[in-house]
Structure formats: C-alpha cells, structure tokens
C-alpha cells in the first residue's frame, strides 16, 4: 500500500499537469492567434474587446485563488480582499501615471493631471520612485503584504475569528475606500487614476500589448495556482485545514496558530495585489470603488459558487460568475444583483461544495476528498 501522504503532498498528479498545461497552452496560443491572426469577419475571430475582458477574468481568478487559500483552507473568511487587490492596482496605476509624462492634458512633465488640476506644486513623497517599474513592482508586493501582515498580526494575536474577523476586514476595505475618495489623499480622489499611455514603453491601447497582458495574466494565474497548491499540499496546508476544524487542538499540539494564519493571510494579500496590478492596465482605470465592501463580498461569492477548499473551484467560480455578470449586465442590468443574491442562496442550499463538488454530489458521495481512499480502505477491510 502506498503511503497516503505521498498522494497528498504531490504538487499535481500526471493528469493534473496535463490539464493545467493544456488549459494554459490553449489560452496563450489560441487567444492571441484568433485575435491577431484570424481574418476580420471570420466566425472564429476573437474580437478586440474580448481580449482584455478575458485578461480581467484571469485576474479575478487569481484573486479568487488568493481568497480560497485563506477561506477554503485556513477558514478565515476575509470580506476585505478587495483592499489588497486595489492596493496592488493603485501601485500599478501610479507607475502608469508617471509614464504619461508630458502627454497629459496639462502636459506637466512630472505631476499627473489630477495634481495639476488640484493646483499642487510638487509630487507627494509617496509618489517618488513610481516612475521606475522595478520600484512599482516591489511596491505591488510589499504594500498589500505589509498591510496584511500588520493587520493580520493584530487580529490573529488577539484571536479575532469567525464573523468578527469578517467584519473587521470589511471595515478595513471600507475605511480604505473613504480615504481614497478624498482628493487630498493624493490618489486622484473620486476619479482615481486613468488615461494611461504606456507600460514598459508599450502603448497600453495597442492590440499586441493587450494580447501580451492577457498572456502574462494567464501565466500569472497558472503560477498562482501552483503556489497555492504548493502551500495546501505541504504540512502547513494540513495545519491550516486542522485549525479550520479545531483551532484549540492545533494550539495544544504546539503550533502557533497566529503564525500559520498570518502566513496564509499575508501570502494571500500579496497574490491579490499582483492580481490587481495586472488588472489595472487591462481595464485602463483604478478608482476607489474597487475598495467598496460589495466588491469584496462578490469575491467570496465567486469562491462559494466554484467550491471552496479546492483551488480549481475558485478559478471556475470566478470565470463563471463574471461571464454571467458581463452577459447579464449587458442584457438586463437591473436583474444582476438579484441574480447574484439568488445564486448565493441556491449555491448555499443545493451545492454546498459549489461547482467543484457537483461531480461528487452526482456520484452520491459526500466528501470527494476521501472517496478513493475510503473505497481502498473498505476493500482492505473485506
């Protein structure tokens, strides 16, 4: 009998690698080919608007993975992940604003348009360095990471759990929204940052740039999946699952629950920040509405719909819900919120394990994670 843990501590099995490789290859080859090379009018042609849209979904899927890591595994329901996503996005937005240079409406060589408009004379110190991509890239990782670390340290050390933690994460993102709405905060207030021109010297509006950003987003999504998978298949992943079920027991075994949670929360925030940074050049704007509590709640719905604690379910859920959103907000915008609420109720009542759990549900097994092994064990009993 092969030891149980070997299957559990594998990053992916053979089939998993094939599926992942196949999906990534299909996305990074087919989408560019069908957008750039397919002749206009061909039924297979992917229209230009579709490429950044798909890229946006990939960023949302990364965000959903980050949320699933903390919620699905460590049992921390963060309803403020939009804050980390938006912070990563703002860092990228600041870089893009500095790249505008003299091409802004006011043509100021250093100050972004909104600062000229506010009659500011010099760049605030926290905008320094954002003209350099490496600096912005470091901030994309550091700003959400440090915020999550400090916030998480205080919350987890004080043993804030469950719904109370959800509420304070919600308060965090709400507070950030109020701050970023203010003009004197120095991030463009209500309008946020927009009207970008260039990223690393490439025109952000160009078709090829958009295809490039899409490809990078898909690769980043695959990498995020592998990072999360590495964590959840490690012993730390089992510690996370354990503390979701019986936090006290984990403590009395000698593990620092605070540190395990802090690790998951901080990593998750960093991944969310990177997702936000890839999102901004594709949608062309970042504004304080990204911090709105409703956004963060919607993210939890993606994960719930896809099935939490599976990782691939989060990706599935993010794509499915956002496709539905794009379609419905176009076809019948007034019903979207009702649909979202209904979806959440239906999933909670009838698909507790989400889309990812449907296969197991149809087979009549309650816990797909154990089916193969339970069968093996039962066979061994007989």
């Amino acid at each position: 009998m092969t030891p149980l843990h070997s299957a559990l501590s594998r990053l992916l099995d053979g089939k998993g690698w094939i599926v992942l490789g196949g999906l990534v290859l299909a996305a990074v080859v087919l989408v560019p080919a069908l957008n750039l090379a397919a002749p206009p009018g061909s039924p297979f042609r992917i229209p230009d608007y579709m490429v950044p849209l798909l890229g946006k979904y990939a960023c949302y899927a990364m965000l959903a993975l980050a949320l699933d890591l903390v919620w699905g595994y460590a049992g921390i329901l963060s309803l403020g992940h939009g804050a980390f996503f938006a912070l990563g996005g703002y860092c990228m937005g600041m870089y893009l604003m500095r790249q505008v240079g003299t091409r802004g409406v006011y043509g100021h060589p250093v100050l972004p348009d909104f600062m000229v408009f506010l009659n500011w004379k010099e760049l605030p110190f926290y905008w320094y360095g954002f003209d350099m991509f490496w600096y912005a890239a470091a901030m994309i990782v550091l700003v959400p990471g440090v915020l999550a670390f400090v916030f998480g340290f205080l919350a987890f050390r004080s043993r804030v759990t469950g719904v109370y933690l959800s509420i304070i994460t919600q308060a965090l993102t709400f507070a950030m929204m109020l701050g970023f709405f203010r003009n004197d905060f120095g991030f463009g207030g209500n309008n946020g940052l927009t009207d970008f021109k260039e990223i690393l010297g490439f025109d952000v509006q160009a078709r090829t740039t958009r295809v490039g950003l899409f490809v990078i987003s898909v690769l980043a999504l695959a990498l995020t999946f592998l990072i999360c998978r590495f964590v959840v298949t490690s012993k730390l992943g089992r510690v996370m699952l354990a503390l979701r079920d019986a936090e006290g027991r984990v403590r009395f075994l000698g593990y620092s629950v605070t540190m395990a949670k802090l690790f998951a929360f901080t990593l998750s925030a960093v991944l969310a920040g990177v997702a936000g940074a890839l999102y901004v050049p594709q949608v062309g704007i970042i504004n304080p509405s990204e911090y709105s509590p409703a956004n963060s709640i919607e993210m939890a719905i993606w994960v719930a719909v896809g099935g939490r604690g599976t990782l691939y379910g989060a990706v599935l859920g993010a794509f499915a819900v956002n496709f539905a959103k794009t379609w419905l907000t176009g076809a019948a915008p007034e019903v979207w919120l009702f649909f979202l609420g209904l979806l959440f109720i239906v999933v909670t009542l009838f698909m507790p394990k989400g889309l990812a759990g449907l296969r197991g549900q149809w087979r009549g097994t309650r816990k797909p994670r154990f089916t193969a092994r339970r069968r093996a064990a039962e066979a061994g009993d007989d």
Partner: protein, 272 residues
C-alpha cells in the same frame, strides 16, 4: 484547614504527605507542581488556592463533583486560563503561567480535551502526522516532508491505538471511542512527557473502557499521566493515587478505597 494539613490528617502513612508542599525539591519528584493557584470567574472561585504535586512517571487520578475545578486546573496548566494568583511549575523550573498554549505544548505537556477533539477533515494518519514532534514554525511546516522512519512511527502508533485499519479514513468518521484513542495517540506522537487526560472514557462502551485502561496503564512509568474522570470503576481499574477536588481545592488524597471511605468525600458527592 490547609490542604497539606488535610492530607497529613487523612493519610499519615503516605510518603508524599511527609514532604511540605510549598518547598520545591528535585525536579524528578515534581514533574508538575501547582502552588496556591486561584482562578475566579466573576467572583466565583473555580480554583481556590489549589496546591498539587505530581511526581515524574506517576499516574494520578483527579476526581470531584461537577464544578470542583478539574477542567479549570487543566486549563491553567496548559495555558488556556491565566490564574489570578499562584504559580505552576513544570519540572520544578519552568513557570507555566508565563507561557502560551503552544509554548507549553512544546515543553512536552499534552492535553486530551473532555470532548474528543481531532481534525475531522484529515485522516487518522494525517492527525498523527501533525502531532509528530517536529519544528512547529510556519516555514518549517511548509518545507516539511515525512521521512520513512517517521511514517513507520506513525504506523506503529496507529497500531498501538488500534486504528491501523482506519489509516486512510477521515477522523470525522471514527467512533467516539476511537476519536478518544486517536487524540491520546496524538499526545504520544507529540512526545508529551506529561499527559493530561480529561475524561478519557466518557461515552465509551465497557469494552472500550477496558482497552483504554490498558493503554493508560501502559503509559505510566514511561510518562506522567494525570487523568480527570467521573467513572469510578475506571479509576479503580487504574489502581492509581486519587486526588479529590472540591470547590477548587484538594479535599482528600490517597488510594481509591481511602478516599471513598472519607466521610467528607461521600458528603460532597451525595450532597448534604
């Protein structure tokens, strides 16, 4: 009457009674030493200047009516509750009241909860894997990979606690008694030298109780075991020294026959 005097009065023959309780001696003699521990919840004294010594390798049973402070005593030792007054020494040196749960666990103190607490969504094997004595940091856990020798130790433990055939099954599907055993197995994997077992046979069948008694007896000597239990038959079958708690302090101490013959013990159990 002080607790030391109570012991002296009721069991003059016991060797422990001859030693004054408030003077620390060799660490071996005092694996665990509670010195005047008081815990109050909103004015109610769950523990009232409780003093208690457990020697290394000893098997000790703690009994007492509901609310006597048995579980609170375990909470204090394992760092879940901070006492208002008093000290708790481990091996005569370390003051446990200054440490948190994880630090105390890493000193070698393991605790089984009253309600069996295992990780229901993990397999029996994984439950023991997490308990296995290893570096406990987040980074260490991220990099940890089981070595064949460790797998062997986990399998041997599954054998010892009678769960070898449940290795692949989720712990949540185990029976109540099996969960109790798995939890004891986790304490052993953790290499705990002092085991605190809160009602290890609650809800067990007679057969399971017997098997548990055998398991607990096999631990004594090798490790120090403190058992909190209501089941008098089980306590009798362990044949260990018994401490009776009442209203947060020690009422009597001695063999089971001795304490059961004590008029005041009978009184607090039957009511006045």
């Amino acid at each position: 009457m002080t607790e030391a005097a109570a012991i002296a009065a009721h069991e003059p023959a016991a060797p422990h009674a001859a030693r004054p309780l408030n003077q620390p001696t060799a660490a071996d003699d005092q694996h665990l030493y509670l010195d005047g521990v008081t815990v109050s919840f909103d004015g109610f004294k769950a523990l009232n200047e409780l003093s208690l010594v457990v020697a290394k390798g000893e098997l000790r049973c703690i009994i007492g009516p509901n609310g006597a402070g048995k579980t609170t005593m375990m909470d204090v030792v394992t760092g879940k509750t901070r006492p208002d007054a008093g000290k708790v020494f481990y091996q005569g040196r370390v003051d446990l009241t200054r440490l948190d749960e994880a630090q105390i666990a890493n000193l070698g103190i393991g605790r089984k909860f009253q309600k069996p607490t295992v990780f229901e969504n993990l397999t029996a094997f994984e439950n023991l894997e997490l308990a296995l004595k290893n570096p406990r940091g987040a980074w260490a856990a991220l990099a940890a990979r089981l070595k064949p020798a460790q797998i062997g130790r986990i399998d041997a433990m599954l054998e010892r606690i009678g769960l070898a055939d449940k290795r692949f099954g989720p712990a949540g599907a185990l029976s109540h008694g099996q969960k109790q055993w798995l939890e004891i197995g986790m304490l052993l994997m953790q290499d705990a030298q002092l085991l605190l077992l809160d009602e290890p046979v609650a809800g067990m069948t007679d057969h399971e109780t017997e098997a548990t008694a055998t398991l607990v007896l096999s631990l004594a000597g090798e490790r120090t075991v403190v058992v909190v239990e209501h089941d008098m038959e089980f306590v009798r079958s362990l044949g260990a020294r018994v401490t009776v708690l009442h209203e947060g302090s020690v009422l009597a101490e001695g063999s089971i026959d001795h304490v059961q013959a004590d008029r005041r013990v009978v009184e607090v159990y039957l009511g006045r």
